[in-house]
């Protein structure tokens, strides 16, 4: 457990879980999941949400038992070397989340706002922002994730504008796709939900962590509700063929919004999204930095060095990845790694931890 000074209230887990899940995925998730499930894609959103909730429950089983973060659990169960190696995989995964979010956002800015933008300068500016946040400590990261949910929340009300032009009959007939299609679509949907695994590392920073489980589930629920809301409006607004032609259907939805003083509302949307992706990157960078600290036993005073190194890695990869195809590829690998880690590794680890403790206890009783 961390010192009380640095801990946060349990209800903030709601914002931490929700803000890391919701990111650039919202702009383009419709096309990916409707590719296989069509108008039944909403089932995939609900299915994905439930699956994630189950995993959150499993995570809490594991964390409540150990009262430690993932890195220390690894060390306890597998020893220094193997445990460290497994932790390193997780850190790479969290870093990848940061890279994916940053790169995808820059791509959207490039396509919609500034085609000639200097990617290096722009990423440096964003990363300086992240650096300023992360070096402030976990409380500041939590703060930005709280404000990143509360301040831009108005943006979701703008999705009410397209309702005038929607045909909800597009949702019918329900269940005209096979179970296999819906499962594939659920798997594709997972990318939108990933990131909540950072819970494994900030768990010791929560005051009365057991109480936070409810909030974590609620945070996940809000993510699900927002995805579902946008998806249903998109299904009603576009036809299936149309959606296939839009890379970012959400941004196209905004074109309908009309206010007396503003047109092209998607510009405002993309701009406000800075505040939504910022917690995303901050949490993932903080989680990796914290992980590196624990694995290599680095003193907390060296936080500057570690964050700078991590941010340089982020910067390097952001500049190196060019073009739509590569970004899609990165997305794919990241979500694949995420799926394996979250849905296979975590339950296995929990099972193993319970078995091991049982065996150890039996050994003690025998002795």
């Amino acid at each position: 457990m961390e010192e009380k000074e640095f801990q946060i209230s349990p209800f903030l887990a709601f914002y931490l879980v929700h803000s890391v899940q919701l990111g650039v995925g919202v702009f383009g998730f419709q096309r990916t999941i409707m590719k296989s499930a069509g108008n039944d894609a909403w089932i995939a959103v609900i299915g994905g949400g439930i699956a994630v909730s189950i995993i959150i429950w499993v995570m809490y089983l594991l964390l409540n038992k150990h009262q430690k973060d993932l890195i220390q659990i690894h060390r306890d169960l597998f020893g220094k070397w193997i445990g460290g190696f497994l932790s390193l995989i997780w850190i790479i995964y969290w870093l990848m989340i940061g890279i994916v979010v940053l790169r995808s956002y820059i791509e959207i800015v490039q396509v919609w706002l500034f085609p000639m933008i200097n990617i290096i300068m722009f990423s440096i500016i964003l990363l300086v922002l992240v650096y300023y946040c992360v070096t402030g400590g976990f409380q500041i990261v939590t703060g930005i994730s709280f404000l990143g949910v509360v301040i831009p929340f108005y943006i979701f009300f703008t999705f009410l504008y397209p309702i005038e032009y929607t045909h909800f009959r597009n949702l019918l007939p329900i269940w005209n796709h096979s179970l296999k299609d819906v499962t594939i679509s659920t798997k594709d949907m997972m990318l939108g939900y990933l990131g909540f695994s950072t819970l494994l590392i900030y768990y010791p920073y929560i005051k009365h962590p057991k109480k936070s489980q409810k909030w974590a589930h609620l945070g996940n629920l809000l993510t699900g509700v927002i995805y579902l809301f946008i998806l249903i409006i998109s299904i009603g607004f576009f036809s299936e063929n149309q959606i296939n032609r839009h890379t970012w259907p959400t941004l196209s939805l905004w074109k309908i919004v009309e206010l007396p003083f503003v047109e092209r509302f998607e510009y405002i949307g993309i701009t406000s999204w800075v505040l939504i992706i910022l917690p995303n990157i901050c949490i993932s960078v903080w989680a990796s930095a914290k992980g590196v600290h624990t694995i290599f036993n680095i003193k907390p005073q060296k936080v500057v060095v570690v964050s700078v190194v991590i941010l340089l890695i982020l910067l390097g990869s952001t500049i190196a990845i060019e073009g739509r195809e590569n970004i899609e590829k990165l997305n794919k690998y990241m979500s694949l790694l995420g799926l394996w880690l979250v849905f296979v590794y975590i339950p296995l680890l929990t099972l193993l931890s319970f078995l091991l403790s049982k065996i150890r206890r039996r050994n003690i009783e025998k002795a």
């Binding site: 706002l113 300023y132 930005i144 047109e263």
Partner: protein, 508 residues
């Protein structure tokens, strides 16, 4: 915070070692002291003959009240018998008998008169005859209010404490005084209410003050800059007020106040950013009216920071954001202007800053004229000359006006300053630039603290209870608890049930 304290105390130790031996060497004997004193022309020294003994009397002429000397000291010296009986003869309560040169020197500078027998240098009598010349208590000029008390602090510490104490007639109001400043020897008082104020807050303030090592404290704003948590932030982290009613009320909420001798302002901490947008008049108006004005003020600040950058961003990069009808207005006003929006905006913003600065430096009457002349003539002329557009002129003037709505002067300055980084970022990255600067601002505010308490409270960390007196002010009957921010020892201000009761018979 710990680091901060260590740094301060280290600093202090080193300095005091260097400073102290010099002083003791200089005045080791009375003779040397006298020699040193007579070097200054405003030091008066004469001999006075009483019953065959000659007494030497000396003082700094500007520091003492000659009337006291003539009326209450010289006549009574005739009845003088022995040196030790002086204190019972003189009708003055503060008479010190000493032989220590350092004490004599120190007290002379506080307005004491020394008297000693020429033949006996072993005992010196010090009599208090100081005079304090300050101005009368007058109207508050920075935080003027239409309703409510119109007293403001003056430059004398004792008068200021009197203004506070008469509003809080209770023995629990505790005052801790200390002397800060190697040269200025300024008296600084820390005020708090025992049993309400959090001990930790009080100790933090006292510790930071006593660890200070500085030569001259000329005003309370020196103290703010020296003891606030982040000294590099443009945001002040202690509230600066000239209203004794505000200090008294915030002391009652459990805060700690600092009064400095020679400063017509008091400091209050711990505070939050939202308190910088409270005018104390808010508490003198009905809660609905007060809440409305608070919201107006808050949106004025947001408007003031964001509007010019948004103009620059939109006109540099995002023309398509503006609807057709509005664009024609903008285009006609900008069609003759050769400058890019950023230069246009910077020229006008700087012009307004010039006007403000000139107005602030000049005497009131000239200042007003300059304001009007500058505002009307320069504004119209620059539009006619085609240097700036009408629309921007309106926007910049409104933004400047909005920045003046903040009741605390220091915060108004900060707001005008942080507009410029926003402008530059808007020019570089358009709307995204504005959003990025806004995020910087948010993170900066998140990182700030006031006496170790979060600066963005009650929004982060969320404290629903404190929201009742933040952006809006709910009725007094709902304010029965002290803010959580202060972590007070006694959390209840009054009994909420009793406050709502009315004992008059109901009329139909």
């Amino acid at each position: 915070m710990k680091k901060w304290r260590n740094r301060r105390s280290l600093f202090k130790d080193k300095e005091s070692e260097i400073g102290s031996p010099k002083n003791t060497e200089k005045d080791d004997s009375l003779g040397d002291l006298l020699k040193q004193l007579t070097l200054s022309n405003d030091f008066t020294q004469f001999t006075y003959h009483v019953n065959e003994t000659s007494l030497c009397i000396g003082y700094y002429t500007p520091l003492i009240d000659t009337e006291i000397l003539h009326r209450d000291i010289l006549p009574y010296l005739k009845k003088w018998e022995s040196f030790s009986s002086l204190s019972s003869v003189l009708p003055i309560e503060e008479v010190i008998l000493t032989a220590d040169a350092a004490t004599i020197q120190e007290n002379l500078l506080k307005g004491y008169i020394f008297i000693f027998d020429v033949n006996n240098l072993k005992q010196v009598c010090l009599v208090k005859a100081g005079v304090e010349r300050t101005r009368q208590v007058s109207l508050p000029e920075v935080e003027f209010s239409v309703v409510g008390p119109k007293e403001s602090f003056v430059e004398a510490l004792d008068t200021n404490i009197n203004l506070v104490r008469k509003r809080l007639p209770m023995p629990e109001l505790t005052i801790k005084e200390m002397i800060i400043g190697k040269l200025s020897k300024t008296r600084v008082s820390v005020l708090y209410i025992e049993g309400i104020a959090n001990k930790e807050n009080v100790n933090t303030v006292i510790q930071r003050l006593s660890d200070l090592d500085f030569d001259q404290i000329m005003d309370s704003s020196y103290i703010t800059q020296l003891i606030q948590d982040n000294q590099n932030s443009p945001f002040p982290q202690l509230i600066d007020t000239e209203r004794p009613d505000r200090i008294a009320s915030e002391l009652g909420e459990g805060k700690v106040a600092i009064l400095v001798d020679g400063a017509p302002h008091g400091l209050i901490g711990p505070t939050t950013i939202f308190e910088f947008f409270y005018a104390f008049e808010d508490y003198y108006l009905n809660w609905a009216v007060a809440s409305f004005f608070r919201l107006v003020r808050f949106f004025a600040v947001l408007f003031s920071i964001l509007v010019t950058p948004l103009y620059v961003a939109v006109l540099t990069y995002h023309y398509e954001l503006i609807p057709k009808d509005l664009v024609s207005t903008l285009v006609t006003s900008r069609s003759a202007i050769p400058l890019p929006p950023i230069l246009e905006a910077i020229i006008l913003e700087l012009a307004i800053e010039l006007l403000r600065e000139a107005g602030a430096r000049l005497p009131t009457k000239v200042g007003q004229t300059i304001g009007i002349v500058g505002g009307i003539v320069i504004g119209t002329a620059s539009v006619e000359a085609g240097l700036t557009s009408n629309v921007l002129l309106i926007i910049v003037a409104l933004a400047a006006l909005a920045s003046f709505t903040t009741p605390v002067y220091q915060m108004g300055n900060t707001i005008r300053l942080i507009r410029f980084p926003f402008l530059l970022m808007a020019h570089y990255l358009g709307l995204i630039g504005v959003a990025v600067s806004f995020c910087f601002l948010l993170i900066h505010l998140l990182r700030l603290s006031s006496l170790g308490r979060p600066f963005l409270e009650p929004f982060y960390p969320v404290r629903v209870q404190d929201l009742k007196d933040s952006l809006i002010r709910l009725p007094f009957s709902m304010q029965s608890k002290r803010p959580i921010q202060e972590q007070t020892e006694d959390t209840m201000r009054f009994n909420p049930k009793k406050a709502k009761e009315k004992h008059d018979s109901k009329r139909i």
